[in-house]
């Protein structure tokens, strides 16, 4: 089934995304769910297009791979908001849209006469979402962040790292700061859209990256609120108030198994675990009946860990992972993100999708649906737009601008 011909759950919703690196993941969530997302970039293209790696290895605004990923299913137009003619076009585009997503510093759009107050006067049903580092007000509202700094201030980073505290805390890879915030911006926007069905009016959603991350730290927040204690980062496992036993073990093939735990297992599962190790003669003394007592297992955690480590050192991580899972033990395998693409289970589910890049005469395999909708599918409707690819389609075709005007606007840099 070609997803372009199918209807996503948000089909019919029109979203304008004012380009910004922090915001494009949020726009992608809308676009792949079927909303018509029109991305407005500055003439020449958004700076995010200059972020590599690039297809072909040479910088090119239409060949940034991260840009490709974050801008699937969108249409792209260019506009210089500071040009006065441009503002008329912007307003008429907003008139025809349900949602405006923006990530300019607080005060920037009102400074151009394009704040929520002005826009909503002309279009009371407009839902506008502003995604900023700290929100629209507060003592830190004008501070500068990077994705790294957002993960530091917001809290995720303090919980991640190694037992050895001479090594700095780490922020997990992949640009998660923008992903977390993008989800909350999406949810806030959709709530305002749903609210509008009942109230007839839109509203301005103020979304803070800092707050979104601060609500994405699990136990760190609870330990602080209830005990005023920090959790302490540990290698490959939960940060806790009091240290816990290691749970990530390297196997014979150099790979790691994760979540290795045995304390909580039932006595029956413990017996199975011992029998499993015993099949290779590697149960050591764990068959001793005294280990049937959970308190003894807790007290002997160090020794049990050594026995398991020895077992892992003589088996591949995949063997250990599968063997443990077969016993009902919730152990995992540390895989690279690339393995997921080739994983037979992913293929059973049809996880990855092919996206045509007809401009390059190629198609590429993209990560697929985060959620499989039974009736109205998620889908990549089209590759990321080139710079200004839909200028004519949107300005002339939908806003009725004569083609000559478009040429003129391009000449003096308005689009």
């Amino acid at each position: 089934m070609n997803p372009r011909q199918t209807v996503g759950p948000l089909t019919g919703l029109r979203v304008v995304e004012l380009a910004d690196e922090k915001l494009q993941y949020c726009g992608k969530l809308f676009a792949d769910l079927g909303a018509d997302v029109i991305k407005i970039e500055q003439p020449g293209g958004d700076p995010a297009r200059r972020i590599g790696p690039f297809y072909g290895g040479v910088p090119h605004p239409d060949r940034s791979i991260p840009f490709w990923y974050d801008n699937t299913s969108k249409r792209g137009i260019t506009l210089n908001l500071a040009a006065s003619d441009a503002q008329r076009l912007f307003r008429s585009l907003i008139q025809r849209s349900d949602v405006l997503l923006e990530a300019r510093p607080p005060g920037y759009l009102p400074g151009l006469g394009l704040g929520y107050e002005e826009l909503s006067q002309e279009h009371p049903r407009l839902v506008m979402t502003s995604l900023t580092p700290f929100g629209q007000h507060g003592p830190w509202k004008d501070l500068k962040i990077s994705e790294l700094v957002s993960m530091a201030l917001g809290g995720p980073m303090a919980s991640c790292g190694y037992d050895d505290h001479s090594v700095p805390p780490v922020r997990g890879g992949g640009g998660q700061g923008w992903h977390v915030a993008g989800h909350y911006a999406f949810l806030g926007t959709m709530m305002a859209v749903l609210r509008r069905q009942a109230s007839g009016r839109g509203q301005w959603v103020d979304c803070s990256i800092h707050e979104a991350l601060s609500c994405t730290t699990e136990g760190a927040a609870v330990a602080a609120m209830y005990e005023q204690k920090p959790v302490i980062r540990q290698t490959g496992r939960h940060a806790t108030v009091t240290p816990s036993a290691p749970s990530q073990i390297q196997c014979a093939d150099g790979r790691y198994v994760a979540g290795v735990g045995w304390l909580r297992v039932t006595d029956a599962t413990w017996e199975q675990l011992v029998a499993w190790l015993g099949r290779d003669g590697m149960a050591m003394d764990l068959g001793d009946p005294r280990y049937r007592d959970v308190a003894v297992r807790a007290a002997e955690a160090g020794h049990i860990g050594e026995v398991l480590e020895a077992y892992c050192l003589t088996h591949t991580a995949e063997e250990v992972f599968r063997g443990a899972q077969a016993l009902g033990l919730t152990w995992g395998l540390v895989r690279s993100p690339y393995e997921v693409v080739h994983d037979p289970h992913s293929q059973d589910r049809g996880y990855t999708v092919r996206v045509e890049h007809e401009d390059l005469g190629q198609s590429f395999q993209y990560p697929g649906a985060p959620y499989v909708f039974g009736v109205s599918p998620w889908g990549v409707r089209r590759r990321a737009p080139h710079v200004g690819e839909h200028n004519e389609e949107v300005y002339c075709g939908e806003l009725g601008l004569p083609k000559e005007r478009l040429t003129l606007l391009a000449e003096y840099g308005a689009i």
Partner: protein, 415 residues
């Protein structure tokens, strides 16, 4: 103006017990959804998780915990929800549950992939009860595919999806995430699916099943990395706190004065580098020609980081953040939970920690939701439900059972 909240009148049957599902329904409950948690009469282990509090007083250890209603962790995750404790193995318990589903909008569950089917509550049966139902399943590997039986928790999903592998320093084992990041993000994906399916249902009247594999969600959060691989064949590994695209240096976490205190700093261009040099008072080492250009700083990051940390390590973290921000540099303290709860002036100003009333715990802190809808704000109406607190109330109000019928169910141990 419509009264009430965004989700007033929306009823969600929530079978999720750990973190991912409850995190999704927490967001919806904050905005007025009637979330009915379905639990067993024996408390789930998550209900017993510390830290604990009783009538406003912290309990130091688990031996003092004499009730399944004292967990701060559970309270933070389940405020605003209703709770039913039900024996679903009793035919009457199951019959009432089915009647309740018939009168609800959404069913969400977070079990391993065969539980609902084994209860006779797979999507086909749910749809027979309620054709417009929105059903969200949220298992580690999804509900179909050859590995659907793999059991996961947050850290296992992180391991399998590639997130663990992508976090840490290249010359060290994976650091992973020091908490269940994917329980949060799995929850956000589920909430995203629910609001999108609700929008679709408003347009078409159709409900549907949305199946979510948390492992796939995790992999989409590394989408740019995966796409680089499928497009170019190039793989990259974890790289600490550095940034290759766009190349930036210094870009890392640097030790400050005090016990395990760190600051994150990102410098993207010459202007910011000059500002950093000025903030440091132009020490001799900054004039090293190797550091004169962006590419030089990136190429000699190890030395650059050492020099920079030689300067940061004697400074107080928040004062340093203020100094650097004053020079226009993205810099932020690696804040732990206590920093955020007690010190962070931005979170304080914006009210990101609130309290709820709880009958056994007393007035108790919870995180606010980071979504600001001025026209229909979130409310914090009550603490987490006591085990079975609303069994009778829901049976009476929603299903119209008489006090005698309810008394009989209680007497027979069904509720």
């Amino acid at each position: 103006m419509a009264g009430g909240q965004v989700f007033s009148g929306l009823r969600i049957i929530d079978f999720s017990w750990w973190v991912a599902g409850p995190h999704a329904t927490r967001i919806l409950a904050d905005f007025g959804a009637e979330v009915i948690k379905i639990e067993t009469k024996t408390p789930h282990v998550y209900r017993m998780n510390g830290p604990w509090r009783k009538h406003g007083i912290a309990l130091a250890n688990q031996s003092q915990v004499d009730s399944p209603n004292l967990s701060g962790t559970f309270n933070n995750q389940n405020r605003n929800k209703l709770g039913m404790a039900l024996d679903v193995k009793d035919p009457r318990g199951m019959a009432h549950l089915r009647s309740l589903i018939a009168l609800s909008d959404v069913v969400i569950e977070n079990f391993s992939s065969r539980v609902m089917e084994s209860w006779g509550l797979g999507y086909d049966q749910l749809r027979a009860l309620n054709p417009a139902i929105i059903y969200v399943s949220l298992a580690g590997m999804g509900h179909w595919g050859r590995d659907r039986d793999i059991q996961t928790m947050g850290p296992i999903v992180q391991a399998l999806s590639g997130l663990t592998w992508m976090s840490g320093f290249p010359d060290l084992p994976p650091a992973g995430w020091g908490y269940s990041y994917m329980d949060h993000l799995g929850g956000y994906a589920a909430a995203t699916a629910i609001v999108s399916a609700l929008y679709y249902r408003e347009q078409t009247g159709q409900g549907q099943w949305v199946d979510i594999s948390q492992t796939e969600v995790g992999n989409t959060l590394l989408g740019a990395e995966v796409l680089e691989y499928t497009v170019t064949g190039n793989t990259r590994t974890r790289n600490g706190n550095r940034l290759e695209h766009p190349a930036a240096a210094p870009h890392g976490a640097y030790r400050c004065a005090g016990d395990d205190r760190w600051i994150a700093i990102s410098v993207f261009n010459d202007q910011e580098w000059q500002a950093l040099c000025e903030a440091m008072g132009q020490p001799e080492w900054t004039r090293d020609p190797r550091f004169a250009t962006p590419s030089g700083r990136v190429a000699h990051q190890d030395d650059l980081d050492r020099f920079l940390e030689g300067w940061t390590c004697s400074q107080e973290d928040y004062a340093l953040m203020e100094l650097l921000q004053g020079h226009g540099i993205a810099a932020g303290v690696v804040q732990n939970g206590v920093d955020r709860f007690l010190r962070d002036p931005q979170l304080k100003e914006r009210g990101m920690f609130v309290t709820v009333e709880h009958p056994e715990m007393g007035t108790s802190p919870v995180e606010a939701v980071p979504i600001r809808l001025p026209e229909a704000p979130a409310t914090y109406r009550r603490g987490a439900p006591l085990l079975g607190e609303h069994s009778a109330e829901v049976l009476s109000r929603v299903l119209g059972l008489t006090p005698e019928e309810i008394g009989m169910l209680a007497q027979d141990g069904v509720i």
